[in-house]
Symmetry: C2
Subunit: 249 residues, 2 copies
């Protein structure tokens, strides 16, 4: 009987220590991998010191298209074929994204869904997730929260969406979480500080588990008064909260 292991990868440079040894050991013993990018996956598996040559292992990539991030369909045929082949011969399979946890703000869910449909056991392994670490570090409401992926890239649409999330946070008493590419971090901060209400909490978490780790939550008012206003160009998670619990007093 095959098992599909969901293998987390480090989210910062030189941060292999954030992947617990038991997860590393499981990954080291596999030889069929369905991955976001073969090059980085091979590099990761090599760094674990596998017992067999990497050339004897199978690495198949998930397609790059957005459709592969969610639904089964366009482009996953090759990965699905490798999955079925492995299941037929009773081999276990590893699912890896480039960084963090497969299937969470990363490709992979389609293969997990396939495993459930085929009755293949699914085992998620513990490791780093920027979304989870950012939420922990925000001090915002962790009893109710919502993750939205990427917001619109252009300033006017971003401002509008931030105000929508602010309203949603107030109405639903929910922390609203989103991500952005490194080079847009500064723009996100600027638009947030211009668009949100003075008492709304805005949180930034960058390069989590890395040497440049930065986490800060302040009210918009306090960001404008005293907060760090120049963000590094590193991977960032952003959080908005103005629910009914007073974290800002």
């Amino acid at each position: 009987m095959s098992t599909l292991y969901l293998i987390p990868c480090p989210i910062a440079e030189n941060a292999l220590h954030t992947v617990p040894p038991y997860a590393q050991e499981i990954a080291r013993d596999l030889d069929v991998f369905i991955v976001e990018r073969a090059k980085t996956a091979r590099h990761f598996i090599k760094s674990l010191g596998p017992n067999r040559p990497i050339q004897e292992m199978v690495f198949v990539e998930l397609p790059d298209s957005p459709s592969s991030w969610g639904g089964v369909g366009a482009g996953t045929e090759e990965a699905e074929a490798v999955f079925h082949e492995a299941v037929k011969s009773g081999k276990n399979i590893g699912l890896l994204s480039e960084a963090g946890c497969p299937g969470v703000a990363d490709p992979g869910a389609a293969i997990v869904a396939l495993a459930h449909r085929e009755g293949v056991k699914v085992v998620p392994l513990v490791g780093p997730s920027s979304i989870l670490l950012a939420l922990m570090a925000s001090g915002m409401n962790g009893q109710r929260f919502s993750f939205h992926g990427y917001l619109p890239p252009k300033r006017p649409e971003l401002a509008k969406e931030l105000r929508r999330l602010e309203n949603l946070s107030r109405q639903q008493d929910q922390t609203q979480i989103f991500i952005e590419t490194p080079y847009r971090s500064q723009m996100v901060l600027e638009v947030a500080l211009e668009s949100l209400q003075p008492n709304t909490l805005f949180g930034v978490a960058q390069d989590l588990s890395g040497v440049g780790e930065f986490t800060r939550t302040l009210t918009v008012k306090d960001w404008n008064k005293s907060g760090k206003k120049t963000l590094e160009k590193s991977p960032g998670v952003f959080l908005v909260y103005c629910g009914n619990k007073d974290f800002s007093k």
Copy 2:
């Protein structure tokens, strides 16, 4: 300068291996802890083999009341006093819940918020979260999701809320996640299978990282046809998805 470390604890029995060694080492070197429950926190720190007697460490509990789960306020005064005392003497502080990640479906956010207000550095450490593991293992949409904590305990209200989450999932293309106490798992499954649409995906994740780990996602139709219908009385995360991506074909 003090740092507030957010320390994850195992979510299953005998699962210390799910907390990476670097997080264990940081926890072992601290001697001021703000915790959900002192007894379990002492037990956890003892299991790490600290260099000093446990009696020389400070453990202060967060209040039990729901208000402490989110906002600063009622009952956190003692923990806040310990926090201020530690910061004054330049000591680092550890924040721990009973299981999993502090501040995420667990108390602790109020202390993190306090740290941000006081300009104390906040460092979240990697470790197990049942919500994150359940989402990974669900095969549902991990690009957009929402966590709701506990749903209403009584059958009619639970059915109504499940149907609301189903609609929300469809409208927002979001995975909807909630938790329930072990002894109500079976009831949740029954009510879900009675209340949700046949093609809606329903996911169950129990005893994650434990010996009784169980993860399964099926359409409501397939749960009714062939799924495991008797759930163990173990801690459970439940997921609902009927967004616009076809995971069910």
